[in-house]
């Protein structure tokens, strides 16, 4: 039981880290970004590459984390504004499905781009993971690094909540989410808010990737699985809702942990089945708002 809970929370933290940027971007830009998984992959590559390149045995652990963070920031801050300004900007106001397809094209492009830059051979950045060692919870050893992930997810979640509810930018963002036209009329620089929000989303995707890197071998194809998982989480929680992404991650995390422990063949299926069930009973997701058109 404890094992299921711990595994569930660890998996939930990871998936929250990976998917929260997706829901933020959808909230502000109304674009469901299929390339979100690619941005995750780029973050993973950048982080892993920095660790492999600059981190030597004997150096302090904190440096490896700094390198991962730097990787995420570099990847996010470079790609975010670039993609939003040069591509997404031209799709605002168009059919949401067209926008979905634009990000699908972007997903195809970024996939090859990552291969061109980092090649097809795996990157191993296990150093931070193995240096931390294990910790015992109820006599079961768990990697300490998993606790780092939980802490990071909590920090990101709380940070985003504070940003949305306690800062000036958060209020501007909320206004843009509420009504784009009125925000423009009020003199809010909507394009800038969009650029910043998309960049934050990109940094979050890259951050998820960078801090996942030490736990996996970074190879081509990690983008594809992440994107469908993130979709499941944000659709369950309600597109555009921060609280929804948190709850959705917990549900998916626990559901998967139960499946892994009880029905190991069904771990993937479980996630999609949960998604389908939630959509049946709450089509707009747990925290989503249903919209009625005015006549």
């Amino acid at each position: 039981m404890t094992a299921i809970l711990v595994d569930g929370v660890v998996y939930a933290s990871w998936i929250f880290l990976v998917s929260v940027g997706l829901t933020l971007v959808f909230g502000v830009l109304r674009i469901l970004n299929i390339a979100h998984g690619s941005l995750y992959a780029v973050g993973a590559y950048t982080g892993a590459w920095l660790v492999v390149r600059y981190f030597q045995p004997g150096m302090p652990l904190a440096l490896s984390f700094a390198l991962l963070l730097a990787g995420a920031l570099i990847a996010g801050l470079v790609l975010g504004p670039l993609i939003e300004r040069l591509l997404l900007r031209f799709t605002y106001g168009r059919d949401e499905v067209m926008q979905l397809l634009v990000t699908y094209a972007l997903f195809l492009i970024l996939g090859d781009l990552t291969k061109l830059i980092w090649g097809v051979n795996p990157y191993y950045a296990y150093a931070p993971y193995s240096m931390l060692g294990n910790v015992s919870i109820g006599n079961v050893p768990y990697p300490r690094y998993d606790l780092v992930l939980i802490g990071l997810a909590a920090t990101v979640g709380i940070g985003l909540w504070l940003m949305t509810n306690r800062t000036r930018f958060g209020r501007l963002m909320t206004a843009v989410i509420g009504d784009r036209e009125i925000s423009t009329a009020l003199g809010i620089n909507v394009p800038l808010v969009c650029t910043v929000a998309f960049t934050i989303g990109t940094v979050l995707a890259a951050l998820g990737g960078a801090f996942t890197a030490p736990t996996i071998s970074v190879v081509p194809g990690i983008d594809v699985t992440v994107i469908v998982l993130s979709f499941a989480v944000v659709v369950i929680g309600g597109l555009g809702s921060l609280e929804g992404a948190a709850l959705g991650s917990l549900i998916v995390g626990i559901a998967r942990a139960i499946a892994v422990h009880r029905f190991p063949d069904l771990d993937l299926v479980t996630i999609y089945v949960v998604m389908v069930i939630v959509l049946i009973f709450r089509p707009q997701g747990l925290f989503g708002r249903a919209e009625v058109k005015r006549l």
Binding site: L32, E96, Y104, L108, V228, V269, Y272, L279
Partner: protein, 319 residues
């Protein structure tokens, strides 16, 4: 029953196209003819996707039905010992249609991104099932599909590819005509009406969900047939048919061709398949990137697809 003059014209058009392709089959080299067999079979799935797009529904999980069609053929052979291609294809169509009837009422409640996501979720459920239950499905290796008879005719191994070309062509012709007749029918227009304005449709007294359901079932049947043809022609089925990137390819091809005419997605598929083969052969490292760039160009510069070039051309000459 008297055949409508409009439908007669459509029938003649399809017969003409099939005749040209049949002659082409005599002349084409084996490898190219095989590519065309696969492309024509796949084009039926792309027609299905385009047909849904006309109703404003973007399916990111149409691979669900091609996988069901393909596995139906594989199981039909393995479990029931059916070796007649036409029967196997009937099983494929029946299986995908039944599945659509079962899940359609649920899926057709959704629009826009939600439709895309829930259709994706369903296809991923099937994908994970096919992958995990490897004792029954062969897991990631999939299953072999051996040679089938066509109308009782047992083709020699050497002639099989040719026989399958004409089998695919016949199915393609029937499906294309059915689609053309559907597009011209009230149901075909009502599907477009759903995309344009659901409120008006309900205020005319029609049911949006019933109209989308109709389109969904038709698309599923076409896609199931496509999957069945694929299984026969390639001789192998695997879970990747249900993976979401496969559905992404269908969408890409539909977008590339356009949705305004039943033949547009066929053009899209043939161009897509050629691009796919040549780009992956000549630009093995960047072909996905090239596909992505082409897709962007199409969406941003030619949102109605390649077929709109022909429409513009013919409109100018008619004027």
């Amino acid at each position: 029953m008297k055949i409508d003059p409009g439908n007669l014209r459509r029938l003649l058009g399809v017969v003409l196209l099939v005749a040209v392709l049949a002659l082409l089959g005599l002349w084409l080299a084996g490898w190219t003819r095989f590519l065309l067999t696969v492309a024509l079979g796949e084009s039926l799935a792309v027609i299905g996707v385009a047909l849904l797009m006309r109703a404003g529904l973007v399916s990111f999980g149409q691979g669900l039905f091609s996988a069901v069609g393909a596995y139906a053929v594989a199981y039909g052979m393995r479990l029931w010992g059916i070796h007649e291609a036409l029967l196997l294809l009937a099983v494929a169509v029946a299986a995908s249609t039944l599945l659509a009837v079962a899940i359609g009422p649920l899926i057709c409640r959704y629009r826009q991104i939600f439709f895309a996501m829930i259709s994706l979720a369903f296809s991923m459920v099937l994908y994970s099932i096919l992958l995990k239950f490897n004792t029954a499905t062969g897991g990631s290796d999939g299953m072999e599909v051996t040679a089938a008879t066509v109308l009782g005719y047992h083709a020699a191994a050497k002639a099989l590819a040719g026989v399958y070309y004409y089998l695919t062509l016949a199915c393609f012709g029937v499906a294309l005509f059915a689609t053309a007749a559907y597009y011209a029918s009230p149901a075909g227009y009502l599907a477009r009406a759903v995309r344009d304005n659901e409120i008006r449709l309900e205020y005319l007294g029609a049911s949006v969900s019933r109209e989308t359901f109709r389109a969904y079932i038709f698309a599923a049947a076409l896609t199931g047939l496509s999957g069945g043809l694929f299984a026969l022609a390639v001789g192998h089925v695997s879970p990747t048919l249900a993976y979401w990137t496969k559905s992404g390819e269908f969408l890409f091809a539909a977008l590339l061709g356009g949705t305004s005419s039943p033949i547009a997605p066929v053009v899209g598929t043939v161009v897509f398949e050629s691009l796919n083969s040549y780009l992956s052969a000549y630009l093995p490292n960047v072909w996905q990137m090239a596909l992505g760039a082409i897709m962007l160009a199409i969406i941003l510069l030619m949102p109605r697809g390649l077929w709109s070039l022909y429409e513009r051309f013919s409109a100018r000459h008619a004027a």
